[in-house]
């Protein structure tokens, strides 16, 4: 399966400050790839490099398995940082400029404006729009010509809760169409709901990367309670099933060794003649995982 984007050892410095350091990642077709990180972690710099705005100091990246060139970006819908349009032009004229650059038909403008509920404002100047409308217009430009790859940098910026929900629905619709989406965001809940894969950046470096559910599953604590919790704790330690185990009254909080699941503990306890009263895996949110990683 051909990779949509392949970044290898990418580095970018601004003066003496390292924005991105030795970043490598791969995005496959149909992936919704989240790039997470605190402010200044290198998310926007990474997207600016892969969209040709700035040149990397080291490393390389390839789109669709080929060397990057300007015309290639016409097949990618990108929204980097804030919406950038001519303030004195109306929505249709602004989008017609984008459509001509991307070699997309001008009659697609109506479709994307209707999709983003901006058709009634098509004759309005850009500078008369609210922040949320500007963001929706930027998203309209991204969707022009129905590109197979979307690169979105904080697409929910400036949107109210309703707007954020609408934006998420649109991204999910695009995801259903098997589009590849690269999404940088600091709204972790959104990333968790939308993304299939994620990388977490800190100081320009990737500190964790993988499928979202795998990343979240790692280190999920298993909570067990039973009448013989002391004996069970000893048995588990003796068998070397846990990374750590903590007793809290009748409850045991267990971090399992890699590859083990909660049901394995149930079977193990049963084999030792211990009946469990309660067994659950306490799922971490992406937010708690993220906060632990970037600490």
């Amino acid at each position: 399966m051909e990779k949509v984007l392949d970044i290898q050892n990418l580095s970018k410095n601004y003066g003496g400050i390292t924005a991105v350091k030795n970043l490598s990642l791969e995005v496959g077709p149909g992936h919704v790839f989240g790039i997470l990180g605190p402010n200044g972690s290198g998310k926007t710099t990474t997207l600016a490099v892969i969209t040709g705005v700035i040149a990397p100091d080291a490393g390389s990246f390839r789109w669709f398995g080929r060397e990057h060139y300007a015309g290639m970006r016409k097949t990618i819908g990108s929204l980097i940082e804030v919406p950038n349009f001519y303030h004195y032009l109306d929505l249709v004229r602004n989008l017609s400029i984008v459509a001509r650059i991307k070699n997309k038909p001008l009659n697609d403008i109506e479709r994307v404006l209707r999709l983003m509920n901006l058709w009634d404002r098509r004759k309005s100047r850009f500078d008369t729009l609210s922040l949320g409308m500007k963001q929706r217009l930027a998203f309209s430009a991204v969707l022009l010509g129905d590109p197979s790859v979307l690169v979105l940098d904080e697409p929910a910026n400036g949107l109210d809760p309703e707007g954020i929900a609408e934006m998420r629905d649109i991204i999910l619709q695009e995801k259903k169409k098997q589009k590849t989406i690269i999404l940088a965001s600091h709204i972790l809940d959104e990333v968790e709901k939308v993304c299939t894969h994620v990388t977490i950046l800190k100081n320009g470096q990737s500190i964790a990367q993988g499928r979202v559910h795998e990343l979240l599953a790692a280190d999920d604590p298993v909570i067990v309670s039973c009448g013989e919790s002391g004996r069970l704790q000893e048995e588990i330690v003796r068998a070397g099933l846990s990374e750590s185990i903590e007793k809290n009254g009748k409850e045991l909080i267990i971090i399992l060794k890699k590859g083990m699941e909660a049901k394995d503990i149930n079977e193990f306890a049963f084999s030792k003649g211990i009946v469990l009263d309660h067994l659950e895996t306490r799922k971490k949110s992406l937010e708690s995982q993220f906060l632990e990683l970037v600490k």
Binding site: A48, T51, G52, V53, I54, Y69, A70, G71, M72, R73, K74, I76, S78, I80, V82, N84, F85, Y86, H87, Y88, L89, R93, S96, I97, V98, R100, I101, K102, N103, A141
Partner: protein
């Protein structure tokens, strides 16, 4: 290329500042040539009417038009500064344009404005020329029309300098102030520190000398005591002021400076984090 041209037209056509500057440029030129035509100066060997007759008008009108080239340069600075202010250069790159295509867009705009300016001079020259001339022979009509081409190069050179400054400073206000200061104060002062022959090779001097004051007008004003013409002649006699360079050399130098301005702008565009 067609889409780049259509986009430049879309950007400029609906822009109020563009409309205002072009209208101002057109109106000022018209008012000056109209007002001058109403002036009745008659001195031995010269009358105002002479200026408006073929072939003198081909020399006189481009010279008048060159006074307003500053407005055209400001126009290009504003249009380029907008691309940075609205971050649309950045967006165009994200959407798939290369740096050279960004440059081509502005290059087309410069050409478009220069063509407008030449057409304006041509139109007024024909109208006033036919009103004031009595000799419509080929010799009188065609002679000196090449100055329109020279004026075309001059307009392009001024606008390229403005474009280069706008790319360098990435905004509108500072390049406009610097352009005016450099054109009117900085370069003339710097030139004073150089020998008269060397002064002719400075960029603004080369570009402005493309359309010098018409010869017959300098001589005519030179007949008037106490005018600049007398000063000019005496400075030349004293060896303080060099003779102007030949037109072809001036033209080549202006084209060279234009190439430098455009190349510099391209190098800056390539390096910039838009």
């Amino acid at each position: 290329m067609r889409s780049i041209i259509l986009n430049e037209i879309t950007k400029t056509w609906s822009y109020r500042a563009f409309q205002v500057i072009i209208l101002l440029h057109f109106t000022l030129f018209f008012l000056v040539v109209l007002a001058t035509s109403r002036m009745d100066i008659t001195i031995p060997g010269f009358s105002t009417e002479t200026l408006y007759q073929f072939p003198n008008i081909w020399e006189f009108f481009p010279w008048i038009a060159s006074w307003f080239n500053l407005l055209l340069a400001i126009l290009i600075i504003v249009m380029t500064g907008n691309e940075y202010a609205f971050r649309t250069f950045r967006q165009h790159v994200v959407d798939g344009l290369s740096r050279i295509q960004l440059l081509s867009g502005k290059g087309f705009l410069i050409l478009m404005v220069a063509v407008y300016s030449v057409l304006m001079v041509l139109l007024f020259s024909l109208v006033f020329g036919f009103i004031f001339s009595s000799d419509y022979s080929d010799g009188a009509f065609v002679k000196k029309t090449y100055i329109l081409l020279v004026y075309f190069v001059q307009a392009i050179a001024y606008m390229s300098a403005g474009f280069c400054l706008a790319v360098l400073f990435r905004n509108t206000a500072l390049p406009i102030v610097l352009f005016i200061l450099y054109r009117l104060i900085i370069e003339p002062v710097i030139r004073l520190f150089f020998p008269p022959e060397a002064r002719l090779y400075f960029p603004m001097k080369v570009i402005s000398n493309l359309t010098p004051m018409p010869e017959f007008l300098s001589i005519a004003s030179g007949n008037q005591p106490g005018t600049n013409g007398v000063d000019t002649l005496s400075f030349r006699e004293m060896g303080l002021m060099a003779e102007d360079l030949p037109v072809y050399l001036n033209l080549l130098l202006a084209l060279g400076y234009t190439a430098i301005f455009i190349s510099l702008a391209y190098l800056l565009l390539r390096k910039q984090n838009l």
